[in-house]
């Protein structure tokens, strides 16, 4: 790391960065854009809510009190109406930024003609200080601005706009306490050591800072009760230090020691930032309606928890050493699905409740004109069969790592198995939540097989107990599922699995067939599938999830989106698990170059320039990065195997439909036990 935490001159550090692997400082000064791009943002948070900060020092997105609450700042969706909280020099500047090592504290450095200014941003997370007896606001966004060299004029603009910008609240200035914005029991307090005044509902101020001058500005949030008003000065400095210490302690627990550790650690911290600490839930992304194509309509609300991400997320947390977070997440999964009596919904809110449907916010202009802005998600009530496999696979990963299932959890999983047996033949919306109607998606059907396969494995290992009748039913259904996939989900003409039954195009979700152990990664049938996926969906190292213009595939929306981040990482993981390490590393390293300047990924990547698209940052993409890194480390022999594939259950529940398929699915001959069972 080129930078120390303080004291070192910026000029020296910049010189070092220029000569090392980090990018050189920009050649031209960065003028603040009225609406920065998605990738111009970095994330800070306190495991309850989060904020996106642009490289020009502006908090452009923040929802309080939790991820899926209405926004307080939404300039990323509408620079005019959304509201922002900006601290930056008044003069043109070169900008460079990073996260302070091992933390979620963002550091932005502005170099102007007259001096250098450093801005540090965090949402205060200091449980030790809280436990030690300090009064504590529900949320606290703390901003430290410090002149490092010369003198710099700095400006503060804070424009809180409640309810996605619908409400402009007239603030009240309460002398030494700060500026108060109250709205229906919610209270936002803005306090500043930079002299400010209220103009047209906004807090504004500017001042000159000399070298080593430091000022704090903070925003505190409380609701329902008399608020806590945090002091500034040394108290704020102590809070910043405590937050740094918290994050450093947390990231030090990461026991991943393989290649690309920096990227893996950043992904772990990003996942933690998207974890709702009170329940253990992990949201898909902290934003809504950041477009999958600029100017397009593919703008969705991702501030919820998708069951789909469960298994990979759980594995990532456990494998990185975050057992506590993994266990909390698994408890949230069980708690949530218990309420719906094995009828799984696609997404839940952070407390495991159902969401309130989808609506459009027509008064927001959308990110760079990408409308509509949506709140809530209509995918909520879709039938997506893969969820059942995801949940059972997550439970399997949990018990594989030493966890135990209680009676109620075991009963729930068995009920899910029963449900899978009744549902697997139904068409669904599939992993990509298409809005063009139900079809029989090969991946969904394969995940039904995964559900039964893992249940049988857990039964065999004694983690749960299936009755003999039920065991037979699960085994027979697993066999029938496999027969169906090999008959209709595989095209002999294309020599490839296909996205939908009897279809003629591939889909990146097919990679999961190998990652979940339905098929050996290096089996002939899958090798040719991979070749087809790469040919149809590949753009260099990037991978589309499906091709819109191939064979008339229609997802119910106008075409046009980028490459899918997680699919690209699945490709790297697949190659590593197939023993093609060099290819896996080439793809992984290329993907690492597509992260933004602070190591974050969105849902998608622009096919032209690789910049992030869609909601940002995206948990699933970071989970994909971790999975690929783990697979590469394992292939290099630096870690024990952690993959989801390759356990004995497959041999029990998946007999080969015919001799040709059997040869194509395995690199070795099937185990004798399997043959006997098939014969019987």
């Amino acid at each position: 790391m080129a930078w120390s935490d303080g004291g070192r001159g910026v000029t020296d550090a910049w010189t070092q960065r220029g000569s090392a692997d980090a990018p050189a400082p920009p050649a031209a000064a960065d003028a603040a854009e009225p609406c920065p791009k998605i990738g111009d943002h970095a994330l800070i948070g306190d495991c309850g809510s989060a904020a996106l900060i642009s490289r020009w020092g502006s908090v452009d997105w923040m929802c309080l009190p939790r991820f899926d609450s209405p926004s307080l700042f939404a300039a990323i969706l509408d620079p005019e109406r959304g509201g922002r909280f900006r601290i930056a020099p008044t003069h043109e500047s070169h900008v460079w930024r990073r996260y302070v090592e091992g933390s979620a504290v963002l550091e932005t450095v502005f170099r102007t003609e007259s001096g250098v200014l450093r801005l540090r941003d965090c949402m205060v997370a200091a449980p030790d200080r809280c436990e030690a007896g300090a009064l504590w606001p529900e949320h606290q966004l703390l901003r430290e601005v410090r002149c490092i060299e010369g003198r710099v004029e700095v400006e503060v603009v804070c424009e809180p706009r409640f309810d996605y910008g619908r409400r402009r609240i007239r603030p009240e200035v309460r002398e030494a306490l700060g500026v108060f914005y109250a709205h229906r029991g919610h209270l936002v307090i803005v306090r500043s050591e930079i002299p400010v005044e209220v103009e047209d509902g906004s807090v504004r101020g500017r001042c000159w800072l000399e070298a080593e001058d430091r000022r704090f500005v903070l925003l505190a949030y409380d609701q329902g009760e008399p608020a806590v008003i945090p002091p500034l000065g040394q108290y704020a400095a102590d809070n910043l230090e405590a937050t740094l210490a918290y994050w450093r302690d947390w990231s030090a627990r990461c026991d991943y020691q393989g290649p690309h550790r920096e990227q893996v650690e950043r992904s772990a911290i990003t996942l933690k930032l998207m974890t709702f600490a009170a329940s253990g839930a992990v949201v898909a992304a902290p934003t809504t309606s950041l477009p999958e194509r600029i100017g397009g309509v593919r703008n969705w609300d991702y501030r919820f928890c998708w069951l789909r991400d469960a298994c990979f997320t759980l594995r990532a947390l456990f494998e990185l050493g975050y057992t506590e977070e993994g266990t909390a997440f698994f408890s949230w999964l069980l708690h949530t699905t218990h309420h719906s009596h094995a009828r799984l919904r696609v997404l839940y809110d952070v407390f495991g409740g159902t969401t309130r449907g989808e609506r459009e916010i027509d008064f927001l202009a959308g990110h760079r004109g990408s409308r509509p802005v949506r709140v809530g998600n209509a995918a909520d009530d879709q039938l997506q069969l893969d969820l059942y496999g995801e949940l059972v696979a997550a439970a399997f990963e949990y018990v594989r790592r030493g966890g135990t299932l209680g009676r109620f959890a075991a009963r729930l999983l068995i009920r899910i198995g029963d449900r899978v047996c009744g549902l697997w033949q139904r068409p669904d919306r599939g992993i990509w939540e298409v809005r063009s109607g139900d079809r029989r998606h090969t991946h969904s059907v394969a995940m039904c097989w995964v559900a039964l396969d893992r249940l049988l494995a857990m039964d065999r290992d004694g983690d749960l107990v299936l009755s003999a009748r039920r065991r037979t039913r699960f085994e027979r259904t697993a066999h029938r599922i496999r027969d169906a996939i090999e008959a209709s989900g595989y095209s002999r003409r294309l020599k490839s699995y296909v996205g939908v039954f009897d279809g003629d195009s591939v889909d990146a979700s097919l990679l999961l067939l190998a990652l979940y152990g339905y098929v050996e990664p290096d089996a002939p049938r899958f090798r040719s599938t991979w070749e087809r996926i790469r040919a149809e969906l590949g753009h260099g190292a990037l991978l589309m999830r499906y091709a819109h213009d191939v064979h008339g595939r229609d997802d119910g929306l106008p075409p046009g989106e980028g490459a899918f981040g997680v699919c690209s990482f699945w490709a790297a993981e697949y190659l590593a698990r197939a023993g093609r390490l060099a290819e896996a590393e080439t793809i992984f390293e290329a993907l690492c170059r597509h992260a933004n300047d602070v190591g974050l990924y969105g849902e998608e990547l622009d096919l032209q320039d690789g910049t992030p698209l869609g909601n940002f940052p995206q948990a699933f993409t970071h989970v994909g990065l971790v999975g690929a890194a783990l697979a590469i480390a394992e292939a290099r022999g630096k870690r024990p195997e952690s993959g989801l594939a390759g356990h004995a259950a497959r041999q029990q529940s998946g007999h080969m439909p015919d001799a040709e398929a059997a040869d194509d699915l395995h690199t070795e001959k099937p185990a004798a036990g399997t043959e006997e069972e098939n014969a019987s």
Binding site: L135, W136, L177, G178, G185, E225, P226, P231, Y235
Partner: protein
Amino acid sequence: MIDPRTSLVAGVLATGVLTLVMTASQGLGWSRISLPYMLGTIFSPRRGRAMAIGSLTHAVLGLLLALFYFLVFEVWGRAGWERGAALGLLHGAFVLVVGMEILPAWHPRMASRHHGPTPTRQLEPPGFLALNYGWATPVVTLVAHLLYGAILGAFARTVV
């Protein structure tokens, strides 16, 4: 002569209704006033513990004040829900005008409007009529105390 059983039952009921009205106003976003929280933070800065201690203190104060109300009715020689409501209104007004004004001076964790928060004093002061906690706070407080007094007055009619 004050009947302890009646005053106890009336005190519990009246305090319960007062708490219900004030908590509902918090939930509905009308006011952020929380007498249990304000009382509890005198003893502990931890939110959960403060709420527990404050709720208990608030309940005990409600019962003690019920005894005081009964004493007033006895001295008065008359009772009834109208007189109780009037007494409650006076009580509420006193809390708002006097209590809230002097609270920051003796509350060990309440910040001062003039000096700002310190590491030990960070709780938002209520301000005149507790308007800092929302414009509906005086109305809610008066209504809650009016109901408190009315219930006590109605019960006291039977024994005075």
